[in-house]
Symmetry: C2
Subunit: 133 residues, 2 copies
């Protein structure tokens, strides 16, 4: 494994959080997890590859939806335990709900309010099955 992977402080599960930020708008799109293979694949392929905890396998973002993320920069924080990706979001939709991004809930007076629009019906994004990619 290359040294750059050893510089990452993987947690007890072998994972780190990876934040995806839109390279053009600066909007924070989503947070997912990476293991060593996911980060190595992201760097090698230039597209965001995460580790799906629910499915226990590598998850090439957009593999079902087509909403891939072209990676323009990969950053690491001071403690080596969080990755920040600068991405171009294909289709302008990062969230499985059909919204631009996953952070569409805003705290307001004791509640979480969905204040960002659904851009595309999830049933059209994921025909034959709802939910995540």
């Amino acid at each position: 494994m290359p040294d750059y992977l050893d510089a990452v402080r993987w947690d007890e599960r072998g994972l780190v959080p990876a934040i995806a930020q839109d390279a053009a708008s600066g909007r924070v799109l989503m947070m997912a997890w990476m293991n060593r293979d996911a980060l190595a694949a992201t760097v090698a392929e230039g597209v965001a590859v995460y580790w799906s905890r629910s499915r226990g396998r590598l998850w090439r973002k957009g593999e079902r939806s087509g909403h891939t993320q072209q990676v323009r920069a990969v950053r690491l924080d001071c403690d080596g335990d969080t990755v920040l990706l600068s991405v171009e979001q294909t289709g302008g939709i990062a969230c499985h709900t059909g919204r631009e991004r996953c952070f569409f809930l805003r705290y307001d007076n004791g509640e979480w309010i969905a204040d960002e629009p659904v851009l595309r019906d999830p049933d059209a994004i994921y025909p034959g099955g709802s939910g995540h990619e």
Copy 2:
């Protein structure tokens, strides 16, 4: 506990990642962790309060450095397991290394390169002791 805290999917340690983004520039400054008390305090006080895993206590960001974060918005993602803060960063320095932000390492050809400047000597930020707040 208010309902909004129950809507968060706390992990097995009772924590969620919290991303701090500069409200003006859109730069992603840092990622830290919150437990229920940290999120409740952040909402109540309007300043970023995290859970320090290393010290096992609430950590009011800037408690030693003065580099507090005034919180302009609190967001939650679709899965309820990641928080996004929009903040005004006092002093323009979020990182304990004296840099604007913690994500100052950029992947370049197999290495992590520090490509953002130290704005203030950490020894001046934390007199009498190095490192984190």
